[in-house]
Assembly symmetry: C2
Homo-oligomer: 241 residues x 2
């Protein structure tokens, strides 16, 4: 049985960070909830199965042989260790994971720009609060996060082409995805911030050109960004033009 | 040179999850920002040192020999692997970490109950929004999180006394701290929810009785909960009495 990814169909969301790693590693996988032989029923059955000893809290989760693992960063740590997307030494792996956790924080804060007070109701029900949270995100948090990524790229002893060492890791792929998401959600604000983060912008361009990623992005496996995902484009939440 | 913990003085915050692991492991450590020979200047100097190749994004961070590591969950993964607070096998370590990441999500959401729209301004400036976010947290999110912890304790093949295997891990310590924080911040709401999570309540009691934890909690090293930390008691954010 090959690798199975379980994630909500119809949106990129947090599952997309896992898809990018699976694609870059060249692994065969089934995207269960989107598969004709699977679907949402199969995903919910896997999540709610009372016989599962390690049930995930929420999608995404991944089945890889005997391992069933949830939490995006934990899934990536597993894939990184077994499929060449992280350094072999322990210190390098820890640093890669530390970066991933910081990307996860950025992603969670980007999500909360459109759902600041209740993840269980619609954006329209919290639009006023969203305007305020998005302003703080655009002016304070996004520059701080992207500034930190720029700093660590600048300090990488192996050069600024990668976050860790001189080779691609899952952290590079995730930073690409975060930048793409911010570009979709906040095109004006991120353009302003990326001018001061040229290494980050260059890394995102380089990841998009990697042969397997390029092929993936052009395929029907890549869901388009939309307003069901973590990153959502609501023009009123971006910088005023 | 011994282990150095860097975290904001005067509050428990995310640093407390690291302190509990250091204490349970019986490790000698310096809490730099609270140390007479250190202080905030020493912490900021360590964080902003341009010679640091792996700078942390934010406190807490830990220096352990040559390792400088930030992000609470990454710090705990490091301590768990080297100081007996995680299983030895890879699958057990990954599961422990997956649980920790879910605790981290709970903690982040607990924080956002009092800072739903702008982490850079005061609670008083977002009290109306906080009332709404706290209601969603108490009624939807807290029961979902604590329910998941109850489920995985119930399914642990080694029994419900520990989250992972039959021994204490950093995840047990962190769940104790999360429960303590929720008890401080939302005493009425958490009492209601814990009635349906008896394994979680029992685990928290058992951790508090562990000799090193008990000694730590009674020492001056344990900062009291207060309204500067992640968990804050504002009666208006709890269940109406």
């Amino acid at each position: 049985m090959g690798i199975e990814l379980y994630y909500w169909p119809g949106l990129q969301g947090r599952g997309e960070f896992v898809r990018l790693a699976l694609e870059e590693a060249g692994l065969a996988y089934t995207d269960v909830a989107r598969d004709p032989d699977g679907g949402m029923d199969a995903m919910m059955a896997a999540m709610d199965d009372p016989a599962v000893v390690h049930p995930p809290f929420a999608p995404p989760f991944l089945r890889d042989g005997k391992i069933l693992v949830g939490q995006t960063a934990a899934i990536l740590m597993h894939l990184g260790a077994h499929h060449g997307l992280a350094p072999r030494d322990e210190a390098g792996r820890l640093w890669t994971h530390q970066i991933q956790l910081t990307i996860a924080d950025l992603v969670a804060e980007a999500h909360d720009t459109h759902h600041p007070v209740d993840a269980g109701t619609y954006y329209a029900d919290q639009k006023k609060e969203a305007l305020r949270r998005a302003a703080a995100f655009r002016t304070q948090r996004m520059p701080k996060f992207l500034g930190w990524f720029e700093t660590i790229l600048d300090r990488n002893p192996d050069g600024p082409a990668h976050l860790v060492s001189g080779a691609v890791t899952y952290a590079d792929l995730s930073l690409f995805q975060a930048v793409e998401g911010l570009r979709y959600a906040f095109p004006h604000a991120v353009g302003r911030v990326l001018k001061r983060a040229p290494h980050v912008a260059a890394l995102a361009r380089a990841v998009a050109r990697r042969p397997r990623i390029k092929a993936y992005l052009a395929s029907e496996r890549r869901v388009a960004f939309n307003t069901d995902g973590v990153f959502r484009h609501y023009p009123e939440l971006d910088d005023p033009v």
